[in-house]
């Protein structure tokens, strides 16, 4: 009895002390806590990218605030509490976790999810809770914002088609690839990537002679490899991610395949280049495009990489595009919160209005939003080369700034007449 009473007394004392400490904090006392839900993939083929996504959120929080002993982040006049949830890259689980964060944890702002179909599901859910703010993680399907947008869904990262800006032209004009076969996962994000590549490649006069859509999580690609043409193609466009990409490259290599590769934005990400295996020799010379480039030399990028490496000793050799996307989304949120001084009253209307106007210079370039609350930002064309330390890395070939969601084609272009899909666009 005595012990229990003392214990309770101690708790009460600590409670009083913590209130006192808060009051002395110099920020007006009784700081309100804004809850941010972080949603990324922690299981399945995108587990590594998911971990990196959370690093992006935490790096942005560390840049704008100070981590308290409670685990919250102290901003100017308010605190931010981050609640993390992991999904498995399926829309059903992403939706369930998003609902859990919004309805049970009562988060004010949700940042996530990571993958394309997940993003579409969360966007639809966002429409049913108009007084909460949804900010994308790294999901990059075109129609998350391009068609049937949700007014409370914001995306400070570019989509999968924007990530291809410059690649189709470079492949056709400089590399001289005329005929290309495609191997890609069968869901919205690879549709968007293949579409973005084809917008430029087909317009320049190239041909995509064969498309292989494989189920996400396919491990044995031997029959896909068998199906690829052995002659008459100059390169294979591969849009697979994580362990799936590793498996495909290995089996293509083991089967004696010799074609050059064109990569999607996550195909030759650091999470793939970090794996050891003999297939990697064949990856040198692979061209790809995406919103990040390890070897960029602008000061914002160098500062960002330095911060990443200092904050996360267990991180990847370079922050991947997932870390960057989540970082930019979180920076967008924190800039928006700063503009309204953390005021989320009146169904977050002032905050959402401020958020739509947020623009900033991110690690890779200027970020602003269009009328659909979709980012207009920079993109790189890269080529995989062996660095001085023997590690493969992406070397910048060119950079395009202010890439919009139509890749400069304009919303009325025939390439944008239909949503990207297995069969559209087409130029056989």
């Amino acid at each position: 009895m005595f012990g229990a009473k003392t214990g309770r007394g101690l708790v009460a004392l600590m409670f009083v002390a913590s209130i006192a400490a808060g009051a002395c904090g110099g920020s007006g006392g009784g700081d309100k806590v804004i809850k941010i839900g972080g949603l990324a993939t922690l299981e399945g083929p995108f587990a590594v990218p998911g971990q990196d996504g959370f690093r992006g959120i935490e790096q942005a929080l560390a840049k704008y605030g100070k981590k308290l002993a409670s685990g919250n982040w102290q901003m100017d006049g308010y605190q931010i509490q981050l609640i993390k949830e992991g999904s498995d890259a399926t829309p059903a689980v992403a939706l369930e976790k998003a609902k859990k964060l919004i309805e049970q944890d009562n988060v004010d702002i949700l940042i996530g999810p990571l993958s394309g179909d997940e993003g579409l599901a969360v966007k639809d859910y966002a429409k049913t809770v108009p007084d909460k703010t949804f900010v994308n993680g790294s999901s990059a399907a075109q129609d998350t914002t391009f068609r049937d947008a949700a007014p409370n869904f914001f995306r400070f990262s570019t989509d999968g088609a924007q990530w291809m800006a410059g690649l189709g032209k470079y492949a056709f004009t400089t590399k001289g690839y005329k005929n290309v076969a495609v191997v890609a996962e069968d869901y919205s994000f690879p549709y968007t990537q293949v579409g973005g590549f084809m917008y430029e490649f087909c317009a320049a006069g190239g041909h995509v002679v064969q498309k292989n859509w494989v189920p996400l999580g396919t491990k044995d690609y031997s029959s896909v490899v068998s199906n690829l043409p052995t002659s008459g193609i100059d390169a294979i466009y591969v849009a697979l991610g994580g362990s799936d990409a590793v498996n495909f490259f290995t089996q293509y290599n083991q089967a004696g395949g010799k074609a050059k590769f064109i990569g999607g934005s996550i195909t030759v990400d650091q999470s793939v280049l970090s794996v050891t295996g003999s297939f990697k020799d064949q990856l040198a010379g692979t061209i790809a495009a995406g919103p990040t480039a390890d070897s960029a030399t602008n000061q914002e990028w160098l500062d960002y990489v330095k911060g990443y490496k200092a904050q996360f000793t267990d991180g990847l050799p370079f922050p991947g595009l997932f870390a960057l996307s989540y970082y930019n989304e979180t920076v967008g949120v924190l800039e928006g919160l700063k503009a309204v001084k953390g005021d989320l009253s009146n169904k977050q209307s002032a905050f959402m209005a401020a958020l739509a106007k947020v623009a900033f210079d991110g690690p890779t370039g200027h970020v602003s939003l269009d009328a659909n609350r979709q980012a207009i930002s920079s993109n790189y064309v890269t080529e995989v080369q062996k660095g001085a330390d023997g590690n493969l890395q992406n070397v910048v070939i060119s950079k395009a700034d202010n890439v919009d969601q139509t890749l400069g084609l304009g919303a009325t272009s025939p390439f944008l007449a239909q949503p990207v899909s297995r069969d559209f666009p087409s130029c056989p």
Binding site: P215, D220, S226, G256
Partner: protein
């Protein structure tokens, strides 16, 4: 030869080589679940454990054979601990065994995630099975030597298990112990030791297949469920406790997966389960299983 035929033969070979992997994974499961009727839902995690142990051994030594032996031995040891510590205490209690082994599989998978992280790992094929072999009837005229080698491994595992079960004293004990444990015990045979041997062997085969699978494909977190599922389907379709049934089950699953991936990629996963449902509708005991 017309291209369509060459394509088809290549896909058949892809299916058979994948079936070889599925058979080796499921062979341990056939022993433990099919023969001993011990519900071991941690089989997929034991596969991952063997795979990661093999990766560590391969990284340290660069020798594929060492990786294979370490993958096998590490999981034998873990299997012995699991059987002595947990499963032998709940013999015959299916539900308890299922719950305990599901718990174990989660623990093992999470420990592996903590140790190895989310990265994908691979093991390089041994020097005698690298590169490709000339085969006239497949696409390009060449085929991966390692995938053909997997058929050899599967045949060796089949032959070895068949000999142990049908031609050795311990095989007699195993078959007798499954039919009437008490009678065998009364004859002076240490039945629990026989069952421990079978469990350790089955677990070891899971570890061995982990190394073989990691060399052919790769290993990354959450592959435990995939291989547990494939093993369950193989054993159920083939018939509980039948080694030949497991061969047929593995062939059906491997072939349907590859044929599906080639001709109807969107439905390839679906096709496997249609086949399983069809087999169970016609023969509830599996293709070569004895009626219960």
């Amino acid at each position: 030869m017309p291209k369509a035929l060459v394509d088809f033969l290549t896909v058949l070979l892809n299916g058979v080589t994948l079936a070889a992997l599925y058979f080796v994974v499921a062979s341990g499961f056939t022993l433990i679940f099919g023969l001993m009727r011990t519900t071991n839902m941690a089989h997929g995690s034991l596969y991952m454990l063997g795979a990661y142990a093999g990766v560590s051994a391969y990284t340290a030594t660069g020798n594929w054979i060492v990786a294979l032996v370490v993958g096998f031995a590490a999981v034998v040891v873990v299997g012995v601990v699991i059987h002595l510590g947990l499963l032998s205490r709940m013999a015959g209690q299916d539900l308890r065994q299922a719950l305990v082994t599901i718990g174990l599989s989660i623990i093992i998978a999470d420990l592996l995630l903590a140790k190895y992280g989310g990265l994908t790992y691979q093991i390089e094929p041994p020097s005698f099975a690298t590169g490709s072999v000339a085969i006239p009837f497949v696409v390009n005229g060449t085929y991966s030597a390692y995938r053909l080698f997997m058929i050899v491994v599967a045949a060796a595992v089949y032959a070895g298990l068949w000999l142990v079960l049908n031609r050795t004293r311990i095989g007699w004990y195993i078959r007798a112990g499954i039919d009437d444990r008490d009678m065998l015990s009364a004859l002076g045979v240490n039945v629990s030791r026989v069952f421990l041997f079978v469990f350790a062997l089955g677990a070891g085969l899971a570890g061995l297949s982990g190394v073989i699978g990691t060399t052919a494909l790769s290993i990354s977190p959450s592959e435990d469920g995939r291989y547990l599922l494939s093993s369950l389907v193989v054993v159920i379709v083939g018939g509980m406790g039948s080694l030949s049934g497991a061969v047929i089950g593995a062939l059906i699953i491997g072939l349907s997966e590859q044929i599906g991936l080639f001709y109807a990629p969107t439905y390839s996963i679906f096709i496997t389960f249609v086949i399983m449902a069809a087999v169970l509708a016609v023969r509830p005991q599996g293709l070569l299983g004895r009626p219960a």
